[in-house]
Subunit: 249 residues, 2 copies
């Protein structure tokens, strides 16, 4: 049995906890959250606490608190033997260097409150300060997911940037699509299948190889017609991304 | 039985033909393509021709030729009684006004060569010059798909623009994600689940409501860090889309 504690009962923390509760090889020792109100929503059987002083011994402490709070919370764990890992895409492992045993356990997915998560397909990015600690994280990650990667802090930072493009910015382009539809009384659902197909296509093919549309065809006539119908803000995005496609074709 | 002919054996034409061949209520009269070599790849049992003069009588002629060729090909059908429809997102129905019976049958999807298409989930956008012609198109579309929409030429043009955003431009953002990964020796597949999740999320929720990331959080520190690690071209896209998110939050 591997004893684990969840430090932070927010979005990542609560999803991780639900997943851990289903794994018989893991014993969940404790759940911590600073805010007792948030904690009161937790109805599982694990002991919970709102005091960092009351943390029990565990093999691994999963810090799922906000990025800015990681270093501070880690201080409270400074003399523990257990492995202290954070779960952030943006923070270097080094922020935990005051621990003897530390690392990163970063599940690369966008979690939504209240939506059940199937971890089996979520990439888990691991980093640790020793081979032994890495092996322990690999053991736990393999219980959760089939996609486990060893990723150093520099790479993780880059993954985080790439994720902003393929998640946050892509969602904003969906939003522009929705705005255009609403403006012309077209149901946005008409674009749903195309959105899914576009996402599915790059699971099999490099996006470089499957680029289509007026920009890559050099169809300047269509590009000009399209831009005329857009708001100036939308047209700026249209021009920039068309140029990008053409400059990198 | 409704008699249909496919005029143009390209990407859309060949997929439409395969789908029509599986529908017992349709009789495929003929397949036309200007280029006989392309046509020789067609191994089905329908009569094929490379001459517009040899077109047989049909209830509906589906013009799946290139946008620029629609008007010209339609001329060859000028004295036919049958309904002449084009299948383009970007061309107005009016380009066929020399016909007595005309319309548009636009399947809103990105077709790939050699990849089988399930039409049942593909939106079909219909337009016709009379109610009777529209009813006929609705009858055929309903045999193919559960998603049939009446869309006028102006709306279809806007859908085409919106599709550029949610398909072509989204794919370009995937490509930037891939470039970042390659540059830092990270397998792009690590982003696959996030890409799918992002696309799935907007099937249920408005993209406006599920925007996440540093821009919407106003996390300027992370934005600045991210931009430092990008090429200047990538950073320009990053800035523009971050501003767009913040200006429209």
């Amino acid at each position: 049995m591997i004893k684990v504690s969840i430090i932070g009962y927010g979005n990542v923390g609560s999803h991780l906890l639900s997943a851990f509760e289903r794994i018989p090889e893991l014993e969940i020792v404790q759940v911590y959250n600073r805010n007792t109100e948030k904690l009161s929503k937790y109805t599982g059987k694990t002991v919970s606490t709102a005091s960092l002083q009351d943390l029990l011994e565990a093999d691994i402490y999963f810090l799922t608190v906000k990025d800015d709070a990681i270093a501070e919370v880690a201080l409270a764990l400074q003399n523990r033997k257990g492995l202290v890992v954070h779960t952030s895409g943006a923070v270097a492992a080094e922020v935990l260097h005051s621990q003897s045993n530390y690392g990163v356990f970063y599940p690369l997915q966008s979690f939504s409150k209240g939506k059940e998560v199937d971890f089996s397909n979520i990439p888990i990015c691991l980093e640790a300060n020793t081979k032994g600690n890495l092996a322990l994280l690999e053991q736990v990650a393999a219980l959760l997911s089939q996609r486990v990667y060893q990723i150093d802090s520099q790479q993780r930072k880059q993954i985080h940037v790439a994720a902003v493009f393929v998640n946050n910015f892509v969602n904003q382009l969906y939003r522009i699509g929705e705005d255009i539809c609403e403006q012309h009384k077209i149901p946005f659902e008409i674009l749903h299948p195309l959105i899914l197909e576009t996402a599915h296509k790059v699971q099999q093919h490099s996006p470089k190889k499957v680029q289509t549309g007026p920009a890559i065809r050099g169809d300047e006539k269509t590009i000009e017609t399209h831009k005329k119908n857009l708001t100036s803000e939308q047209a700026t995005v249209y021009s920039l991304l068309s140029d990008y496609i053409q400059n990198n074709a």
